[in-house]
């Protein structure tokens, strides 16, 4: 049990970047834009944050810089796809490739130096009480400010998307863009806004990883989390409330890489007969493939026998072109 709790403790910081990136992607996808650039935006955000802190700025200045840099990157993607009508998939993959490459290129000078990350604190006022809840108290309510921020952004995102006029407009832009346009809702403006949001969230996600978790920059720091976040959007059915469950499940599989190091599989049942299998399954390199295996399995599990078309935005990845344009 205690081993399981310690695994869960590792899962929380691994969840936050996934959750933030996923929330942003929900905004852009619901408006009809498949932003595949998240991995790259997270990369440049994470690096920018570290550079600010290593250059003497505060942690929050780092977060701000990360958000700004990733937001600018997202606007490049927006101009390409929304204004110039480039293929969303191709543009997104290339923005992802570019972001990772640029971060690796410039990060070369900054890798190896460590900062002190955001410290784990209790929430003000009710923090002491919440942290005293048995088993899960410390787990959920003894975290970094960015973890809490991600948690708060879940209901806020849900509320904006499902209970406000803006949310309706976003849904309209992603499902009936022509009709929306004739009714005076400009899908172009809406899509610019949501892509920008996805960039800002990706920046936060990058900062959560570099300033809240690792505390240093290294090449390929994001390690495919941006792509997994996009898969979570599908599993979560474009719903922020479900995203938190998905993000935690995947955060858990990421945490296994650290949590299962040196795990003693002799204690497992049938360890004599299955020792070869166990040795394979608990090899550190094999454990590092689990997030991908689990993601593919989840995509299959949530797609077989259900009709994704019913919940997916109808015009996802389709550029909006006005008549005569």
């Amino acid at each position: 049990m205690s081993q399981f709790i310690s695994l869960l403790e590792l899962a929380v910081p691994a969840t936050t970047p996934l959750l933030l990136a996923c929330l942003g992607e929900i905004f852009s996808e619901r408006s009809g834009v498949l932003n595949l650039g998240i991995e790259g935006l997270m990369s440049i955000g994470a690096l920018a944050a570290i550079i600010v802190v290593l250059s003497g700025g505060g942690l929050w200045a780092g977060v701000l810089m990360s958000v700004v840099v990733a937001g600018v990157g997202a606007l490049v993607f927006a101009v390409l796809t929304i204004s110039l009508k480039s293929d969303q998939v191709v543009s997104g993959v290339m923005i992802a490739l570019l972001g990772v490459a640029v971060a690796n290129f410039y990060g070369n000078n900054w890798s190896g130096e460590t900062i002190s990350t955001f410290s784990q604190t209790k929430l003000p006022l009710i923090g002491d009480f919440l942290a005293s809840i048995p088993y899960v108290g410390e787990l959920l309510f003894m975290n970094t400010p960015l973890d809490y921020l991600a948690l708060i952004l879940v209901p806020i995102s849900w509320y904006v998307l499902f209970r406000t006029k803006l949310g309706l407009k976003i849904t309209a832009a992603g499902n009936e863009s022509k009709a929306a346009d004739t009714m005076g809702i400009d899908p172009i403006k809406i899509r610019y806004l949501t892509v920008l949001i996805s960039g800002l969230f990706a920046g936060l996600a990058g900062a959560a990883l570099s300033l809240g978790f690792t505390g240093y920059w290294t090449a390929n720091l994001i390690d495919s989390r941006g792509w997994i976040a996009i898969a979570i959007v599908i599993v979560a059915r474009w719903d922020p409330l479900k995203a938190i469950i998905g993000a935690f499940a995947f955060g858990f599989t990421y945490s296994l890489q650290f949590g299962l190091q040196g795990f003693n599989y002799q204690s497992l049942p049938l360890s004599d007969a299955l020792s070869g299998t166990y040795e394979f399954l608990f090899d550190p390199i094999i454990i590092s493939t689990y997030p991908f295996v689990v993601t593919i399995a989840m995509l299959v599990f949530f797609s077989v026998g259900t009709n994704t078309d019913l919940v997916a935005p109808q015009e996802l990845a389709k550029n909006y072109i006005r008549e005569g344009e």
Binding site: S83, S91, I228, I296, V300
Partner: protein, 365 residues
């Protein structure tokens, strides 16, 4: 419609109806030149003179050893480029070039090591094994997309990430002697003969792959169906084309090509399994296929371009204090500039006499 009013006249931005060949080539050239300029600026931030870097790279690529190096680089890039290009003509995105390469490489190395007593047959079996491994791996995203409509971009990407790691694991399993972590050297029978500075059997395979792909689209019914499906899936299915056959078929071809690319790298170039022996070829293949778009000759041209960039990048990385990531930066900027150029070119500016709404109504009646 975007329009800017200038007195009585409207400046309207319209989609260009005809595609000009020269404009297309101009866009590609423009993208390449702009990227070289941008990369030059990036390099100079490392205190390196871009002029010097370009001179080093170009003079090396034009030297005899550089030229054979270029051919050797073109082999996997052309095969994987085609592995992405063929599904792309059906409107499907195969971002799993890396998975095919690594899967093919692992299979080829395992077969090569396991069949020392089979004579030269060992080489053939290693290559075929690599091709089959690639097909098995790429069948997964194909089947998932065909039967349950699971997004093939994500599944292929995830498979790529997975197989980079599985390859590292396979290297530890097949570990050879010596200080550095590499796979055991393959027996001589499983290693391809080489000519002129390391050009190996992969060249023949790549040429064959290119010619067969050319005939696939020029001469076969399946190639025609792929194009029809790519243009309009709904209409294609209505006219009796089997959707699943197109999706799974193009992915199997992609798997075959990328698997044999990985196998030929192992038996031809390295003679053993190495960790990370595909430095981002899967992503480069996407860039190649996008520049190729509907024209297979452009695939060849793009392969040459990116092979050159690899040679150039690895040369300056060796001699100057510039990180290897410069190659990936170049790839991405070329494609992004290319997309920007296409976007601008596709929309031309029209000057029209402004007509009021009432006039329009009258004239249309």
């Amino acid at each position: 419609m975007k329009s800017i009013k200038l007195g009585d006249f409207d400046l309207r931005i319209r989609k260009r109806e005809e595609e000009s060949k020269y404009i297309n080539i101009g866009v590609i050239l423009g993208a390449v030149v702009s990227s070289f300029i941008l990369i030059g600026i990036a390099i100079s931030s490392y205190g390196v003179s871009p002029i010097e870097a370009y001179q080093l790279g170009f003079s090396y690529a034009l030297s005899p050893s550089g030229f054979s190096g270029l051919i050797v680089r073109m082999i996997p890039l052309l095969l994987v480029g085609l592995a992405v290009y063929i599904p792309l003509r059906a409107g499907l995105y195969n971002v799993a070039g890396g998975a095919g390469i690594y899967g093919g490489g692992i299979a080829a190395a395992a077969i090569g090591l396991a069949t020392p007593s089979f004579g030269r047959l060992s080489l053939l079996m290693a290559l075929l094994g690599g091709a089959v491994a690639g097909m098995v791996i790429l069948a997964i995203p194909g089947v998932l997309r065909a039967y349950w409509d699971i997004n093939e971009i994500l599944t292929t990407l995830l498979l790529s990430f997975m197989f980079v790691r599985l390859n590292n694991y396979a290297v530890t399993v097949m570990r050879g002697e010596g200080g550095t972590l590499t796979g055991e050297a393959l027996p001589a029978n499983a290693v391809s003969p080489t000519i002129g500075g390391g050009i190996h059997i992969g060249l023949a395979i790549a040429i064959l792959g290119f010619v067969l792909s050319y005939f696939l689209f020029r001469r076969t019914a399946f190639g025609y169906e792929i194009d029809m499906f790519g243009d309009n899936p709904t209409a294609a299915v209505r006219s009796g084309i089997n959707r699943n056959k197109i999706i799974i078929g193009t992915f199997l071809i992609g798997g075959l090509l990328s698997g044999i690319a990985g196998a030929s790298e192992v038996v031809g170039l390295h003679g053993r399994l190495l960790p990370d022996f595909s430095p981002g070829y899967g992503f480069t293949a996407v860039a190649i296929a996008i520049i190729g778009r509907k024209n297979i000759y452009r695939v060849l041209g793009a392969t040459f371009l990116f092979a050159f960039v690899y040679i150039w990048g690895s040369r300056i990385e060796l001699l100057l204090p510039v990180p290897t990531a410069v190659i990936a930066v170049f790839e991405a900027t070329v494609i992004l500039f290319f997309l920007v150029g296409e976007g601008i070119v596709n929309y031309k500016v029209n000057v029209e006499k402004q007509t009021s709404a009432e006039e329009k109504e009258v004239s249309s009646v």
